[in-house]
């Protein structure tokens, strides 16, 4: 009765083999490496690879291995010393075309990688880096959209030849005023048709006014778009930072998680991620005196007072010639006089428009306004209040010498670094809505290393102690239980690696805890067998009944824990979720290893002895 058919042994052997193969990659140390990725969409060809290699050899640096998957080149080195030197050498050699980043590459043998056996990702608490939780300012996204409708209405009504008195924003609606009901109705019909999916138009009673408000579905669309757009933008910016394996994910309806492993310079990361910067090109109002306007505090009709970098006031026309939305590429460099400059490329629509307005205004002055949005959270009466501060600054004023087209440059920046940062921001595109950081976590690299060591050590010591205890207490059955427990550990590691889970400190704690709890199933079985023996059953019968009776209890007790684990997973975030994943998977693997695997071992040891008199339990 205690013999498994051959297929069961084979199945266990196969599962065990899979378990070992997929858990093993975690035990290979990672190697210091340098990663190169092109800034544009181009692929890395063998010739480029050769250029990189020559650059490294020129510095006398030995490459341990190199890889190129088309989008990314990776060079592995002996130690971090060589890695740093190599990174410097490569930065020098490849110039502006590639992002050079330090990386830790897993040293998994290639045949394992071919089987898709990769190590788990390590969470930031285990390898160091920064974690940001950013919230998208949906109010601002909505405001921006309403402002856009306001402008669009003017253009649209002008095109349709419908006369209006004025169009202005009122709260979250746009209000259009008309001279008479007839033109209002005409506008209502035309606008209603144009914006039938996104806006609702209401004719206000007792006036000739038409009110436009955004429909509920359109509102949701705006928010969804803002979030998506921001994620895309953040991804581009992170790429520019040259971080290996970044995480950029949506969380909930209006939050984005950004994790940058290995990054320690939080200040720079935040500057790049959080800023919303854009440019506006406006004509300078040359008819009026800016000093006078500043003194009176009132700008002439159609103009607005701005400040130059020097602090001097300047008057610019209200009408915008071009906004940053049309910019498709920007790079930093120097102009003919060797001053820092940003070279800008526009998209087709922007180019046509810019071409037209600059053509109409040759020999006039044009100002470039740099607009930066920052959001701050302040606490007022115990409530967190968000305030957004916008700095607008005229960074450059130049006379339009000729009609400008698709490519042109702006100058007037303070330093090459500023030119670089501005180019980066412009290239990555502006954020659709401002984001602000609601949670920030930084873990130093040495701290991460310490965490992993301590977490791992506690697992090992705990495991050794449990094994000692089991072997002394249950002898042969204790050995079997311990082996089953070790196999359980392998299974758990393998499963976590297969799903490419991110291992965090709470996850490590979860592994320790599930290993501790997993022994419960074996204890239940062993105790049952002892009870049966004490009640006078023969050894073979005792084994059989012991396993059978314990099964029901194991199911009940594990399923209740599993319920707790699933609830934790559904509701938890961050560390709790990681812990829950380990707990749930651990329960599943322990049920298998404690019942099936240990039974197989017991069967192998005792099942083929028909005249068994005694059990070592």
């Amino acid at each position: 009765m205690n013999r498994y058919p051959l297929w069961k042994y084979l199945m266990i052997a196969v599962v065990l083999l899979i378990g070992v193969i997929y858990s093993v990659p975690n035990f290979f140390p990672s190697e210091p490496a340098v990663q190169l990725s092109p800034k544009t969409e181009q692929a890395i060809d063998p010739a480029t690879m050769q250029r990189f290699e020559q650059a490294l050899q020129a510095q006398g640096l030995t490459i341990r291995a190199s890889e190129n998957n088309g989008q990314q080149a990776l060079f592995r080195f002996e130690d971090t010393d060589v890695q740093l030197k190599a990174s410097e050498a490569l930065k020098e050699a490849v110039g502006d075309q590639f992002v050079v980043a330090l990386n830790l590459a897993p040293s998994t043998p290639s045949w394992l990688r071919a089987l898709n056996a990769n190590p788990m990702f390590l969470g930031l608490d285990l390898r160091g880096g920064v974690h940001f939780l950013m919230e998208v300012d949906m109010k601002a996204a909505l405001d921006k959209q309403i402002d856009r409708y306001e402008d669009e209405f003017r253009d649209f009504l002008r095109e349709q030849d419908i006369k209006y008195l004025g169009i202005a924003r009122e709260g979250d609606t746009v209000l259009a005023k008309f001279r008479d009901a007839a033109s209002r109705d005409a506008a209502s019909a035309a606008l209603g048709k144009e914006y039938q999916n996104s806006l609702q138009f209401t004719a206000l009673p007792d006036t000739n006014d038409l009110q436009a408000s955004i429909s509920q579905t359109a509102m949701l669309d705006i928010q969804k778009f803002a979030l998506q757009q921001n994620i895309t933008t953040l991804r581009k910016r992170v790429n520019e930072l040259g971080v290996a394996e970044p995480v950029i994910q949506q969380q909930g309806a209006n939050r984005i998680v950004v994790q940058l492993p290995g990054v320690q310079d939080t200040a720079r990361a935040k500057e790049i991620l959080g800023a919303t910067a854009t440019l506006e090109f406006r004509l300078v109002d040359e008819q009026n005196d800016p000093m006078q306007a500043q003194q009176s505090g009132r700008a002439p009709l159609g103009s607005q007072i701005y400040k130059e970098r020097s602090g001097d006031p300047i008057l610019l026309k209200r009408q915008v010639m071009l906004t940053g939305d049309y910019i498709i590429d920007a790079s930093s460099g120097f102009d003919d006089n060797n001053r820092p400059a940003v070279h800008i490329t526009l998209d087709g629509k922007g180019a046509t428009r810019f071409n037209k307005v600059t053509g109409e205004n040759v020999q006039k002055l044009m100002g470039v306004v740099f607009i930066e949005n920052k959001i701050e959270t302040k606490e007022v009466d115990g409530q967190a209040v968000k305030t957004s501060t916008t700095t607008q600054e005229v960074i450059n004023v130049a006379r339009i010498q000729e009609q400008l087209g698709k490519r042109f440059q702006i100058t007037g920046l303070d330093s090459p670094k500023e030119a670089r940062d501005l180019a980066l921001l412009l290239r990555a595109g502006a954020l659709a809505a401002p984001v602000y950081i609601v949670e920030e976590r930084t873990v130093g690299p040495s701290m991460g290393k310490e965490n992993i060591e301590k977490g791992f050590n506690s697992n090992i010591w705990g495991f050794v102690a449990v094994v000692l205890f089991m072997v002394i207490y249950y002898r042969v059955f204790g050995v079997i239980s311990s082996v089953a427990l070790a196999i359980n550990g392998f299974f758990l590691f393998a499963l976590l690696s297969m799903i490419q889970a991110t291992l965090t400190l709470p996850g490590l704690a979860g592994i320790a805890l599930t290993l501790g709890m997993a022994i419960d199933a074996n204890v239940l079985i062993n105790q049952r067998i002892r009870e049966e023996l004490r009640a006078g059953a023969s050894p073979q019968v005792a084994i059989n009944i012991g396993y059978e009776r314990a099964w029901g209890t194991i199911i009940d007790s594990n399923l209740t824990t599993l319920i707790a684990g699933i609830a934790l997973f559904l509701l938890g975030s961050g560390p709790i979720k990681g812990f829950a994943v380990v707990l749930c998977l651990g329960i599943l693997t322990s049920m298998f290893s404690a019942v099936t695997v240990s039974r197989a071992m017991v069967n192998l040891v005792y099942g083929y002895k028909p005249h068994l008199q005694k059990l070592a339990i």
Partner: protein
């Protein structure tokens, strides 16, 4: 056979029912009292604010650090050593007028002017809103776990078992919370994860005993319910102790070798494991009696009444 608990006769646990119930009621009330008067020492995860861990090359000048930070206009700042004399933990509340994201840089620049060889090893900043959400979700998780367990047990056993297990479980959770409040140990997300794990773990305990009670009700036809419960507890006693010992070994390893980060997590589990034994044996089971568990609740009526059947079961 090496047996730690070689009981030949069932221990009359249920006879002490009143005493144990009184004891658990006392600890429970103590915990509620501690929670009410001391309150939990919530970590930055839940309250929002900034926690920084900095490392000095020499021993850290705590007083100087405190003064330096005060000069930047922060109040209610906690500066303390942890782990070693070189490691310093700084806690800052949310502050008006300062962009939360800039706090860490501001503090680091102040500290660096005093001692240049200070490094930032960790910083956690959490917005008040996020903390509040975590707190609410944590509470929700607790309720959902309890509800899930009750439903499962009511389905697999009977409602009396489900309610008893849930009460015994919550008793454990409240005691952990009470101790954390009384000693003002810091309560953060990992501790919450630990408590939720205890919920799963401690119900595990109750289920093993319940399972045996159910089995005994079927097999021990002549015994009374209290005797059946005593026998169930006694026969699972060895397993209870051994499982707890092995889990506790793992948790102790975490407590000793796991470092600062896992310390409170392991602490919550240790308390949970201790009270888990106690509550499964001495809280859940007496509650079964209190709710009036009878043999009929577990054994379906053997023959259903057929139409036209008399009281004595005959059909004429």
């Amino acid at each position: 056979m090496f047996e730690l608990f070689p009981f030949n006769k069932a221990i009359p646990f249920m006879r002490y029912g009143r005493t144990t119930t009184a004891i658990s009621l006392a600890t429970f009330l103590f915990s509620v009292f501690a929670l009410f008067f001391y309150g939990l020492n919530l970590g930055v995860d839940f309250t929002g604010g900034t926690v920084m861990e900095v490392r000095y090359a020499q021993s850290a000048p705590i007083d100087t650090i405190r003064e330096a930070i005060k000069s930047t206009g922060y109040h209610e700042v906690a500066v303390q050593n942890f782990g070693s004399t070189q490691d310093v933990l700084i806690r800052l509340p949310l502050k008006e007028g300062v962009s939360s994201a800039q706090v860490s840089e501001q503090i680091m620049s102040v500290l660096k002017t005093g001692t240049p060889d200070v490094t930032l090893s960790k910083v956690d900043f959490v917005g008040g809103q996020v903390g509040q959400e975590l707190y609410e979700n944590g509470g929700l998780a607790l309720i959902l776990v309890a509800a899930g367990i009750i439903i499962y047990l009511a389905f697999r056993f009977e409602w009396r078992f489900a309610v008893s297990a849930a009460i015994a479980n919550l008793h454990d959770v409240v005691i952990i919370l009470g101790l954390f409040a009384f000693f003002q140990w810091q309560f953060d997300l990992t501790v919450l994860a630990g408590i939720l794990a205890v919920l799963g773990y401690s119900v595990n305990e109750s289920v093993v005993v319940f399972d045996r009670i159910r089995e005994n009700i079927r097999t021990m036809r002549d015994e009374t319910i209290p005797d059946i419960i005593d026998s169930a507890i006694t026969s699972t006693m060895s397993r209870t102790i051994i499982t707890h010992v092995s889990t506790q070994i793992m948790v102790l390893a975490m407590l000793w070798f796991g470092g600062e980060a896992l310390h409170n997590f392991a602490l919550a589990l240790t308390i949970g494991i201790m009270f888990g034994i106690y509550s499964s044996v001495l809280v859940a089971s007496p509650l079964l009696l209190l709710f009036g568990l009878k043999r009929e609740h577990m054994i379906p009526q053997e023959s259903e009444k057929m139409e036209g059947m008399n009281a004595d079961g005959s059909i004429v």
